[in-house]
């Protein structure tokens, strides 16, 4: 592995110097010179050079025949038999990738007593549903799930594996990829098969300020976790059902050093933040914890989840689970309604890929208006309750059935 500058192509323009994140390059006598000790081989200079003067050579070959890996798999995440919404999005994009590779699409589901979930998944455009049932898998256990899925993948050799970038997918797929010594790209927002036949995985980095395209050229499977609500939900299949394949459980894989104790449901939350189509968020402009009631009333009326800015969480007005932004959650709803949120960069990072952003703020210069699809300069205490009232009025008085 080495990095070289072709002296015949370099004209000392310093583009690479600016691109280098570790200050490893300087131009001496009109030639880019790289201090090897400081270089971290990130490749930023290679892509910055207009004259293709810099190259990184990796002397690397696949350790095995990659041709024996076939098919696209989706991890069928479920909890208590209920399939996670992101799985249906993965089926949509997975179908497309499988078609482009001229191969099969399968869902693999781990758990116990999965009949309903399996029947449901088989009604979607997948070719196979692999079912791995055992009482020990009823509840997610990172260690056990990792061991089982690794074993199944080692045996059946899929070419591409997708999982939701959920707390489940993000916490155990890393272990699967490591056990198989293959690559895993986190939080993808773009997936396509390139002309080279490889899975081109595009993901945001630096809080979405940069998009990076990542390949896994020498090892299989090519694995990715995929962000919620980026790809559309797949339609059901027109006819027939997918083939259901029950895999034989191997109890020797079920040992684990962790033990599930209890689940604590968040009281009063009908919709969880990342799965919500609409989010109503409140910030510092609310002035105090009691005023989140205004936000919650509008959210209830719209069937929305309640979000918040960091300021409101740090002030103790609302639990951390509601925080949207760099140190909270990244969300991508159809509609994000920001009430009394100024829109600091760290907040924008978590919500700016929402389809529509509606901002209500009395400061006309608040940065949130720079990204809002519809901005309303005004007092949220006047606007939000009146809006809720108006929606209620339109829907008529609730009838007692």
């Amino acid at each position: 592995m080495s990095i070289t500058v072709d002296a015949s192509k370099c004209n000392g323009c310093t583009l690479c110097v600016k691109a280098c994140g570790t200050n490893a390059i300087e131009v001496k006598d009109k030639l880019a010179t790289i201090t090897i000790e400081a270089c971290n081989m990130c490749g930023a200079c290679v892509s910055s050079c207009r004259f293709k003067a810099i190259s990184i050579d990796i002397d690397k070959q696949p350790a095995e025949d990659l041709g024996k890996y076939k098919g696209v798999w989706v991890f069928g995440e479920q909890r208590e038999g209920k399939v996670a919404p992101v799985v249906y999005e993965l089926i949509g994009i997975g179908r497309q990738l499988a078609n482009d590779r001229n191969t099969e699409l399968a869902v693999v589901i781990l758990g116990d007593q999965l009949n309903e979930a399996v029947n449901d998944l088989a009604s979607y455009p997948v070719d196979k549903v692999y079912v791995y049932e055992a009482p020990e898998l009823a509840i997610y256990d990172a260690e056990r799930y990792c061991r089982v899925l690794t074993d199944v993948m080692r045996e059946l050799k899929p070419e591409i594996v997708l999982a939701g970038a959920t707390t489940t997918g993000r916490s155990f797929m890393s272990g699967v990829a490591i056990s198989l010594y293959t690559g895993l790209t986190a939080d993808c927002t773009g997936l396509e098969i390139g002309e080279d036949g490889l899975l081109h995985q595009t993901r945001p980095a630096y809080g979405g300020n940069i998009m990076a395209t990542i390949l896994c050229p020498y090892t299989r499977p090519q694995m990715a976790t995929v962000r919620h609500k980026v790809f559309p939900t797949s339609a059901k299949r027109a006819d027939g059902v997918a083939e259901v394949v029950h895999l034989n459980p191997k109890p020797n894989l079920f040992s684990s050093r962790s033990k599930f104790i209890e689940f604590i449901e968040t009281v009063g939350e009908k919709v969880n933040l990342v799965d919500a189509d609409i989010i109503v968020s409140g910030g510092r402009g609310l002035g105090g914890p009691e005023n989140f009631a205004i936000i919650r009333e509008l959210a209830d009326e719209l069937g929305a989840a309640v979000g918040s800015s960091r300021a409101a969480v740090d002030a103790g007005w609302i639990p951390y689970a509601h925080q949207v932004g760099q140190t909270g959650k990244t969300v991508c709803p159809k509609i994000y309604i920001a009430c009394g949120i100024s829109g600091a960069v760290q907040h924008q990072v978590g919500m700016k890929s929402s389809d529509v952003i509606i901002a209500i703020n009395k400061d006309a210069n608040a940065p949130i208006f720079d990204i809002a699809t519809y901005g309303f300069v005004g007092d949220l205490f006047e606007i939000v309750p009146a809006l809720t009232k108006k929606i209620k009025a339109m829907r008529g008085a609730p009838t007692l059935v």
Binding site: A142, E143, T167, S171, G207, I214, L302, V345
Partner: protein, 265 residues
């Protein structure tokens, strides 16, 4: 109890842009910080040390990071915040490591240190992958809990953790040794004490290269990494749209109509 906290030095801001003409990263200054999530991990490591020491089990916190020589600054800051010693994994051979190789190298250091508990932030704000913490657990063959929001119980053999998930929380008990990644909710980090600052100044940072952690060249760096970044670009900038001002009643009507157009009311 021997505790390790793994941290990452990240840019002071993630507000980086690419110059569309040159396709290069525009960096405003070169200031760095400890990844915010790692500050919660470090605080929890130090609190656990204090808790165990008080309970009669003298404990220590070793902070480790993998990075270029300048990552030493982050380690010194960690000492000012309560870590007892610091180790910098730095080697030419590590350059270009993806999450597989990064977690491998850190796990090799963990194997050498043999701690009972390893703390990590849930993810770093530059890479945003969240893969390194769980990766260390697999490479080092430790138990793991991700997204820890509260340590409910801890003793020499096990730890009971409340972890944050989409629908609420899950409480799990894991045997030690284990890796725990934490979310912001777990604590409120302290600020450095004067004594801590003095210690940071004086501290000797231990430096380990690939040979010190028995990491062969084909398992680290660009050579060992299964993934490769082939392109970086700036996403299309989101533009502001329509902006309305005026009487509250008018704004409410306009907002209502907007929601109606989107068929949500």
């Amino acid at each position: 109890m021997k505790i390790v906290c793994s941290i990452k030095q990240v840019p002071g801001t993630t507000d980086v842009k690419i110059n569309p003409e040159t396709n290069t990263l525009v960096r405003e200054g070169v200031e760095t910080q400890i990844n915010p999530f790692d500050l919660y991990a470090l605080e929890e490591a130090v609190r656990t040390k204090e808790r165990m020491t008080e309970a009669g089990d003298p404990s220590t916190v070793t902070v480790i990071t993998m990075g270029p020589p300048q990552a030493e600054d982050a380690l010194r800051e960690a000492i000012s915040l309560g870590a007892d010693e610091a180790i910098l994994l730095s080697d030419r051979a590590f350059a270009g490591s993806d999450t597989w190789c990064t977690s491998y190298a850190l796990a090799q250091a963990v194997r050498k240190l043999q701690p009972d508990l390893v703390f990590c932030g849930m993810q770093a704000i530059d890479g945003d992958t969240g893969q390194v913490g769980p990766g260390i657990a697999i490479h080092a063959n430790y138990a793991q809990v991700a997204y820890g929001a509260e340590i409910r119980e801890i003793d020499a053999k096990k730890i009971v953790v409340k972890r944050l998930i989409e629908e609420g929380y899950e409480v799990v008990e894991v045997k030690l040794p284990a890796v725990l990644t934490v979310v912001k909710e777990i604590n409120e980090p302290r600020t450095p004490s004067l004594r801590g600052k003095m210690a940071a100044k004086k501290a000797e940072i231990i430096k380990w290269g690939a040979a010190d952690i028995d990491a062969p060249a084909d398992k680290v760096g660009l050579l060992g990494s299964p993934t490769q970044v082939v392109k970086i670009m700036t996403p299309a900038c989101r533009e502001g749209g329509e902006k309305y001002a005026g009487e509250a009643a008018e704004l409410v009507d306009k907002l209502f109509d907007t929601l109606k157009c989107m068929e949500v009311v």
